[in-house]
């Protein structure tokens, strides 16, 4: 009996995998046949000669800057919106406001960036504006929740002291609460920015600007050489961000 229950989970897993392949009707034989592999090889060969002409590189540079700008502005907007929503979510304005703002934050966070981007492209038209808004909306949900937790854990004594000494609510918040949690907020913002740089480079697939849109265009026009350069640029950007952030973490964050 014990043997059976030990075996049950692995058997269920294997059955799930087999069922998945059966359901999708993956034609591995067609994919890995002589002809299929030949087609794939031809297609891949197009990517082996990246287009390194100056004009194209300049366009990519502009696309990369656009991607960076989208992620930075999107994260900044998200931080502002997140803080606005985090205040009620940390129970500063009563239980009703808390429930509503929590629901809103959860909804913002639950919908992936790319879905937001597709919605924003419908609402605000093609281009980086839609991407920036999409990043801002999703990230506001993520940051809002983190900010709310930070606010709840902030020490209450400095704020109370200021309030007792006669300062207003807003002044007490800015001089009593905010300094205590500021480093944490900045760390969260920078962490999300790092994520958003990666995300911003692919939002363009649904028309939201940046490097992704260039890649989508050149793939649609069957310009494999140009597409290959864009992919290389994305790869470089991701690796650079990774290295920079791990260096910054080692340098400034003491474990």
């Amino acid at each position: 009996m014990k043997m059976l229950s030990r075996l049950l989970a692995p058997i269920a897993l294997i059955a799930a995998v087999i069922a998945s392949f059966a359901f999708l009707q993956l034609e591995a034989s067609a994919l890995f046949s002589q002809q299929g592999l030949g087609q794939m090889a031809d297609y891949a060969a197009g990517f082996m000669t990246p287009d390194l002409s100056t004009a194209h590189l300049r366009a990519i540079g502009y696309g990369a800057l656009e991607t960076l700008a989208m992620s930075a502005i999107g994260t900044l907007l998200a931080a502002l919106l997140g803080l606005l929503l985090a205040l009620p979510a940390a129970n500063r304005f009563g239980a009703v406001a808390q429930a509503v703002s929590r629901l809103l934050l959860n909804a913002l966070r639950a919908i992936p960036e790319l879905v937001w981007a597709a919605l924003m492209v419908l609402a605000a038209g093609l281009g980086p504006n839609a991407g920036t808004l999409a990043l801002a909306l999703h990230t506001a949900g993520v940051l809002g929740r983190l900010f709310a937790e930070a606010l709840e854990n902030a020490p209450a004594a400095p704020t109370e002291a200021l309030r007792l000494a006669g300062s207003g609510r807003i002044t007490a918040f800015f001089y009593g609460t905010l300094p205590a949690i500021w480093p944490q907020l900045v760390a969260y913002i920078l962490y999300r920015w790092e994520n958003n740089i990666r995300m911003a480079s692919v939002l363009g697939f649904v028309g939201a600007g940046g490097l992704g849109q260039m890649l989508y265009m050149s793939l649609s026009l069957f310009q494999e050489a140009q597409a290959s350069t864009v992919i290389l640029a994305m790869l470089l950007m991701v690796l650079a961000v990774d290295m920079l952030s791990s260096w910054a973490r080692q340098r400034w964050v003491r474990a």
Binding site: V17, A44, L68, A118, P128, F205, V238, L239
Partner: protein, 277 residues
């Protein structure tokens, strides 16, 4: 005691103002590059279309025919994630074995540091894993959609490739993080690398590997929904279609299904991790 005139002023005001101005100056070009324009959202005709679209979200579409389609798409999403993970595992395990330092024989006599030629053999595998996981999964999906056509095959391949890169790296690190003494003892007693792996490393690493793989499976479900937007099948592809047709009710029920799916996957993965870890 502070004099009243001094206490009125914020002593840190000037540096703060300076930081703010500096940040603004740095972000200013970004503002024009990102073409940020919130007013577009509230612009007459745009806002009207959007309002109609959003108001059609309620009630979510729930006709029998649509629900059957939804079920089909949801199952497809689950199948893409599962099949992709299975393929990723098949690639990741051998790569992790090749990339890890834990099974190095030359390291035995050198205080845990492998010889230079064994580095030269491991680095290509590590580099391959880095490239596989650094290109975002949705880029792989887009490439495969062009190569093998629209549909779930592209999604499965994209997940398999990206997640092979991630799993391979993490597995290799897990192998290195467990207690190395059993594997070293086996290796120096003349066991083969695979024997040393199965009897010295794997027993210690299983629970961590399982818990990470289950977590990745959960991520794969989310990723497969998103990848549908470039035509890689599943729930995302249907969502993209409905959005283009401005069918608000359909989009609403699909978003709800997506949320439910993510919630269930989260529950299941927590259950599996609790059971095995």
């Amino acid at each position: 005691m502070l004099t009243p005139s001094l206490a009125q002023r914020d002593p840190a005001a000037f540096p703060r103002l300076l930081t703010l101005v500096l940040a603004l100056a740095l972000l200013w070009p970004g503002l024009s590059l990102s073409e940020l324009d919130l007013s577009v959202l509230f612009d007459g005709s745009n806002a009207g279309t959007m309002a109609v679209f959003l108001s059609s979200f309620w009630p979510p579409e729930h006709s029998g025919e649509f629900l059957a389609l939804l079920l089909q798409a949801t199952l497809e999403t689950l199948a893409i994630a599962t099949a992709g993970m299975a393929l990723a595992l098949a690639v990741a395990l051998p790569c992790a074995l090749m990339a890890t330092r834990a099974l190095s024989i030359s390291a035995l006599t050198r205080g845990g540091r492998p010889a230079w030629w064994s580095w030269a053999l491991r680095w290509p595998v590590r580099g391959l894993l880095i490239v596989l996981r650094s290109v975002p999964e949705i880029v792989w999906a887009l490439l495969f959609v062009r190569a093998v056509g629209l549909g779930p095959t592209a999604g499965v391949l994209a997940i398999a490739i990206t997640y092979a890169g991630m799993l391979g790296k993490v597995y290799a690190e897990i192998f290195e993080s467990v207690d190395p003494l059993p594997a070293r003892a086996l290796l120096s007693a003349g066991a083969s690398r695979l024997q040393a792996f199965f009897y010295g490393v794997l027993p210690q690493a299983t629970s961590e590997m399982l818990s990470y793989s289950v977590y990745r499976w959960e991520c794969a479900i989310r990723a497969s929904v998103v990848m549908g937007f470039v035509g890689a099948g599943g729930l995302g592809q249907q969502m993209d279609l409905s959005m283009r047709m401005f069918a608000g009710g359909e989009v609403a029920s699909m978003l709800l299904t997506f949320l439910l799916l993510v919630l269930l996957a989260d529950l299941l993965s927590r259950l599996l991790r609790w059971r095995f870890a």
